[in-house]
Symmetry: C2
Subunit: 423 residues, 2 copies
């Protein structure tokens, strides 16, 4: 089965609102074997929307629209959608009653605006909205299925997974099979060199690099045979990628290190300078991180490094804040200050100001400290402030991961050299 | 002038790569008065790309494509693009020489793959790439202008601003005029109630809510008269929105508070619990933040709150970590520990675990401390862990902003109540 997605939103085209639904839809459809062949963003205008919808329904067995199902004055697309499909809008008394009841349960007085949401194209089946107010609808049109969902990503995703995906599954799904392999610590060019020779013709592979991490997306389309080829390819890739491969599927690097820490029952602290809190923020984004994460110190100033982390004045004077020595003292200091068994640190120059010939922008030192040893590694990143900070988060977390699998000595310096050369 | 954007990328359609160019293009074009009327994402396939391109060139005077201009094996679109336009690819010797020279300057050995990048459709003018390798091209086709740019956002944006935007400007630009007003602290429904009555018919308005912030995008299309209406509307809106309006144009809340601190020469420290470093990360994302930001403590555990911030054991035992008292002691403790003149704090429950009837998930206390006073405010947020953390960052920064303009007492409690009710 193939699908198209039509996003309805003048505000997205005006650059005001980011398009936040497409990737979620594509990932969910892929997990049911359905490939998306086109995505179109159109304004909330009758003519443009009508022609895009008719063309999509003529081409694809499944068309999903997002947006324009609310009841605010700019949500005119319910009407435009019905007229584009050549059917009338029917007022559903029972739907209105449900919406009013929902409002009352939330302690709000039902507003007359709800009536607009109870309008559904003739012949359509309403799709309940478990998160917000606006219902969607399913409609068979021109031998295709149209599924209209709201534009708020959390609502759209809940309705997609509760109603549309089970429907696709019942109908047998598609023949696309996908697998994602996630790597960190080696640049895209090196990932490519290792991956290309071991991937056969029957498997498609896509590379998604982002700030020191590279995701590999593998897909096959032809059922049994393809599935076997995919399994064999994944096995060869795991060998070729070695410890750079940290996970499969949707797992993140943050989740991976937190799970590893939980497994070995070790607590963690972080000491950050150039990242200003990003490493801690990345870790605490994961639910349940409090089980191992003790806290962090964003020691942006030298005084803070001394007072909170116990970095010595002599180290700062002799080697500077951006040095292996400071990174080491930050890590061991964070371990003491936050009473954690393991600590990592990052200190460097994110720019745009403050670089020198000796210590250029992008130079970052990372520290790792546990009961047995404290080490530091230097890396030189390219890119702007944002990219340098993002890459620093990846390398800090990856350093921790490699330490936990006992590959710190063997791998980090070479990964660092590569990271320093790349970009 | 109107434009369409065509994104070429099978990997984007497969949900592997996020589409990262469209919003940048729409914003830049809007700043030159050009409205985008459609955005289509198509796979790297001759037939689909060809039909989309021909339709776009038939409809719109300007068509911008992104993606598929590199030299890796999956970048076949240079060829597909030429064939879709019905023209031959010409090998440009001088372009190859430039690319080879660029490689040498970066200390790399020119690769044979560069030859693919020196292929340009007949009649096209190459667009230099000041950031990366792959050049783009400009081509007049079917009375429209086609501009092909690479898919890496940093490269695409550099080429757009260096080559295409000046060209649009020389040709007089478009008639669209836009203005963005940024608000924080009041929910979208309240922004709407205040905005709707003072915006005239000639001005279009779009609302973009995100985690406690609401951006208003105003646009007019008809030159002189529209411009005057826009200026008058912005004046009325500034009055209607009051202190909730924190900025205009591209300025962020983070930049606003950092600029205010710099103006009054005050240093800042943060103490975070549920946000785990996000407030510090948001502030240090801004270049130059080190001038006022001293650092932060992410005191995720009670022990860290005591040791690093001096929160008393009695306070934690009597009121708990999520309380106004703890928020106050965290803020004053951060001020002392990081030797800053002002400190803000946030402590709360981000979930999904750990809530109770008395202290439900989403309950967050914020502290503010300066030499004269230390205060705390409680807010109850809706949404999941991610949304609760994001909203907490907004409210913490907005609290600081309101304190700096002397509106802390008057505004925060009401904004808090609203935030607690909303969502």
């Amino acid at each position: 089965m193939k699908a198209e997605v039509v996003t309805i939103g003048s505000e997205i085209l005006a650059g005001l609102i980011p398009e936040g639904n497409f990737r979620l839809i594509a990932e969910h459809l892929a997990s049911e074997g359905v490939a998306v062949t086109r995505h179109t963003v159109v304004p909330d205008e009758r003519e443009a929307l009508g022609s895009v919808l008719r063309a999509a329904l003529g081409r694809s067995p499944l068309v999903i629209t997002t947006g324009g199902l609310g009841a605010t004055p700019d949500d005119v697309t319910r009407r435009v959608l019905a007229s584009a499909l050549g059917c009338k809008l029917i007022f559903r008394e029972s739907l209105l009653a449900e919406l009013q009841e929902k409002y009352r349960r939330r302690g709000r007085v039902p507003s007359p605006a709800l009536e607009a949401m109870a309008l559904v194209p003739a012949g359509a089946q309403p799709v309940p909205n478990p998160v917000g107010m606006a219902p969607g609808f399913l409609l068979h049109a021109e031998s295709s299925l149209l599924c209209a969902l709201p534009g708020v990503p959390a609502e759209m995703e809940a309705m997609l997974t509760a109603t549309l995906l089970p429907l696709i599954k019942r109908e047998g799904g598609g023949s696309l099979v996908v697998e994602t392999l996630r790597t960190a610590g080696i640049p895209e060019s090196v990932v490519y060199e290792r991956v290309a020779p071991v991937v056969g013709e029957e498997v498609s592979v896509g590379y998604q690099p982002s700030a020191g991490r590279v995701d590999l997306r593998l897909s096959v389309t032809d059922g049994e045979k393809g599935r076997a080829a995919l399994v064999a390819t994944v096995r060869r890739l795991a060998e070729a990628l070695g410890p750079a491969l940290y996970g499969r599927g949707r797992v993140t690097l943050e989740e991976t290190v937190l799970e590893m820490l939980q497994r070995v029952k070790r607590s963690l602290a972080v000491a950050e300078s150039l990242t200003g809190g990003r490493i801690g923020a990345a870790l605490t984004q994961v639910p349940g991180s409090s089980a191992v994460f003790r806290g962090g110190v964003a020691a942006y100033s030298d005084a803070a490094k001394q007072r909170l982390l116990g970095v010595s004045e002599r180290t700062l004077a002799r080697h500077g804040a951006v040095s292996a020595q400071t990174a080491r003292e930050m890590a061991s200091g964070a371990r003491r200050a936050l009473e954690a068994e393991i600590a990592i640190s990052a200190t460097g120059l994110a720019g745009p100001g403050g670089g020198s010939a000796e210590k250029p922008i992008g130079l970052v030192y990372f520290g790792y400290s546990d009961a047995r040893a404290t080490k530091a590694f230097g890396v030189r990143f390219g890119g702007n402030r944002e990219l340098i900070q993002q890459q620093a988060v990846t390398v800090a977390l990856n350093l921790l991961r490699l330490a936990l699998i006992g590959r710190l000595d063997g791998l980090v310096p070479s990964a660092s050299r590569q990271a320093a050369q790349d970009r």
